[in-house]
Symmetry: C2
Subunit: 62 residues, 2 copies
């Protein structure tokens, strides 16, 4: 599953730590998702979607 987290985070000029704090997760979670170690939960996907104000489908693709 692909995602645009790294790109979006850079658009917003955020560090992994800043984004992690904003989403209420740890930096490890951000790293793992950005580097495709695993997919986020649906809940976290929605948090990310809300934070970047984009539909889930625009950020995550199978």
């Amino acid at each position: 599953m692909e995602n645009k987290l790294k790109e979006l985070r850079r658009e917003y000029n955020l560090t992994q730590e800043e984004l992690a704090r904003a989403l209420g997760v740890t930096r490890q979670t951000i790293i793992a998702i950005e580097n495709n170690k695993y997919d986020p939960t649906l809940r976290l996907a929605f948090k990310i979607s809300n934070f970047f104000k984009r539909p889930v489908e625009d950020i995550f693709k199978i």
Copy 2:
């Protein structure tokens, strides 16, 4: 997290077993999601979204 799985399944006149087979999961998974025991994975949420041809956001809400 709320979802419209039961409503959608009934619109399509499907049993839990039929929907489970169509999505490649077990009936238990369908039951658990319909009855809000837990949320699906992002992957499964996408499968459901594709199957019912609706955005993930229309089916699942925080």
